[in-house]
Amino acid sequence: MAAEGGMSLVVKTVTRWLKGLIFLFGMYIMIYGHLTPGGGFAGGVICASAFILITLAYGAPEAYRHLPRGAAEKLDSFGALTFLIIALLGLWFAGVFFRNFIGTSPESHFRLTSAGVIVPCNLAIGLKVLSSLFLVFVMLSALHIIVSGEGRRRIERRRHTP
């Protein structure tokens, strides 16, 4: 762990303990979306917040070690494509676009397998939201405001006047 950069030791230590738990909780929200409050979007946001916490505590390079930017961009498209493919499989197997083609039996009620395609759909959405929210955060934190012309002169004047 890099000692330089990022926030204080307390924050870093807490982050080290919490990041896995937050991610795990996000995955739980995603997978149990059809039984308890939550779902793909909420779970994805929670998972992304684990990476955002790492970015805040340690800085972007450490976050990229967990989830490289290129991989996040790929995951972003992959999640959406998976969702689309699940919808198309409904057309393929059941004859209607987005049909729930995985049958469920009455015994499976209130269990993980009770919702057919909703669980894979939630996972796909979660993947998409996780990576895109992380990317949005990274992009916003990478923005630098470039001040030119009159604005720069005004800032410099303010700096020189006591």
């Binding site: 290129g70 961009e73 790929k74 498209s77 992959f78 959406a80 494509l81 689309l84 919808a87 198309l88 409904g90 057309l91 059941a94 209607v96 676009f97 987005f98 049909r99 729930n100």
Partner: protein, 486 residues
């Protein structure tokens, strides 16, 4: 064939997500996938002409699931969006070499197409909002694609005003949902028939007029358009001016007012008023412009005014004129923007004061600009003449002689303004010698030719009579059939 309806959204979305995944290694992928998707979409939208049907997504019946509706109006709008989209995509292959990161461009382009197709085919009010936002947000990014100062400023202005419009629309949808308890258009129409146009519904209507009026850039909601449309790369300008303002502005207004809320005389009067205001103010603002694309953008405001005027008459002839002009405008306006793009591609300029003699340097572009200018100016036998003629006839037959007079006057000023483009840009010798940086690429020529031929070919639509031009008659039937039944 009914399964082709969801494909209008699925294919562009799949393309949009697929392109960024693979194109870092293979540079040819964005061009190939983008154009292949647009070809398939154009073919499907040809195949959907004359068909009707409701597709229940996921197999859920009407009030439970999302409906996708296909009728005459949907069919012509899909044809316009995907046909123009194909031409713009063909044009982009060479033109977008001027910019970096083509994969982002094609990805955003396909998102925009997916959003527009979604708005057109959906039968669910909230679904419509989501697709509208997909198209709008993709277009904000595409306007800013050059990342220069001017483009970012235009995109910011567009995004802020577009955001205002979207929130107005969302509040309107919330009010409708509150009163009717449904988001399905057919069910809303059914319930409004029993409830009547109570004050909350009227409030929602006002919000929709302002919101979709902003999206359609009707005067007085037009401030963003003259900045946003010229700043985008030429094929995107062609899509924005050619189809976006119609698909997420005019089409939705027509659909909601005629098929969901039911047209009242007050509503039609508002549509006519907005139409005439846009028509007259748009053209007056256009005359003084020297930037070619900016001039075209102001004319979009004016021509959308014609469409709204035709629709606002509410008679079958007026609807036919408005919808036919909508189709025609999408063809000749996108041709004009692509022409401006090809001039810019060759010379790097688009200010009429710095141009001249382009008809000799780029003979094809000169010819297609002449065709498009005559179309928009309403010169027979080009398509713009017929649709304007139908609108003017409809005004006279409905007893609005003043409106007919305005329509004629605006048409004359439009022609004058395009004669200025032709003279300074194409036929008069330039003030200083122009340096030609690039010659025209073959695919760009194909796109220009396709659109120019359509300008002529579409005037054949009136062979079945001014009352019912080919293709448009079914759309008129769909609009004038009254509100959706359950």
């Amino acid at each position: 064939m009914i399964h082709a309806i969801p494909m209008m959204v699925v294919l562009p979305l799949a393309g949009a997500f697929f392109i960024p995944m693979v194109s870092r290694r293979a540079a040819w992928v964005p061009d190939a996938v983008g154009n292949a998707v647009m070809v398939v979409l154009a073919v499907i939208s040809f195949g959907l002409i004359g068909r009707e049907g409701i597709y229940h997504v996921g197999g859920w019946p009407t009030p439970l699931g999302i409906d996708l509706r296909l009728d005459g109006l949907t069919a012509i709008l899909l044809l316009a969006v995907n046909g123009i989209g194909l031409c713009a995509a063909l044009f982009s292959v060479s033109y977008m070499e001027l910019y970096t990161s083509k994969f982002r461009y094609y990805s955003l382009f396909l998102f925009m197409v997916a959003g527009m197709n979604g708005v057109i085919i959906t039968g669910d009010l909230f679904n419509l909002y989501v697709f509208m936002e997909i198209a709008a947000i993709a277009s904000y990014a595409l306007v800013a694609f050059g990342c220069e100062h001017e483009e970012l400023e235009a995109s910011f202005k567009y995004a802020v005003l577009g955001g205002v419009a979207s929130s107005l629309i969302l509040i309107g949808i919330a009010v409708v949902y509150m009163i009717t308890g449904s988001l399905n258009m057919a069910q809303i129409a059914d319930r409004i028939q029993t409830i009547g146009l109570t004050p909350p519904i009227l409030l929602a209507l006002c919000l929709f007029v302002a919101g979709f009026g902003l999206k359609a850039a009707l005067v007085p909601f037009h401030a963003w358009l003259p900045d946003a449309h010229p700043s985008a790369p030429a094929p995107v300008s062609a899509m924005l001016s050619g189809v976006l303002i119609k698909a997420i502005g005019v089409y939705v207004m027509a659909r909601l007012f005629f098929n969901v809320f039911g047209p009242t005389s007050d509503l039609l009067a508002v549509m006519r008023l907005l139409g005439v205001l846009s028509m007259v103010i748009g053209v007056l603002l256009a005359v003084g412009q020297w930037d070619m694309k900016r001039l075209f953008a102001y004319h979009s405001i004016s021509q959308i005014g014609y469409v709204m005027l035709g629709l606002g008459l509410g008679t079958p002839l007026g609807l036919a004129g408005g919808l036919f002009h909508l189709l025609n405008h999408s063809v000749f306006k996108s041709l004009l923007f692509l022409n401006a793009g090809s001039v810019e591609y060759s010379t790097g300029r688009r200010n009429l004061k710095q141009l001249g003699g382009m008809a000799r340097i780029l003979p094809l572009t000169g010819g297609t600009t002449l065709v498009a200018s005559m179309s928009i100016g309403g010169v027979p036998p080009f398509n713009g003449f017929w649709s304007k003629l139908i609108i003017i006839f409809a005004c006279i037959r409905a007893g609005f002689y003043g409106l007919a007079g305005w329509a004629v006057l605006v048409s004359v000023i439009t022609l004058a303004s395009f004669l200025k483009v032709l003279r300074y840009g194409f036929y008069e010798a330039p003030a200083e010698k122009l340096r030609v940086e690039r010659s025209m690429a073959p695919l760009m020529a194909v796109a220009l030719l396709l659109l120019a031929i359509s300008c002529l070919a579409m005037s054949l639509f009136v062979v079945t009579g001014l009352e019912s031009p080919v293709l448009v008659d079914r759309a008129v039937e769909a609009l004038s059939a009254g509100v959706f039944g359950m």
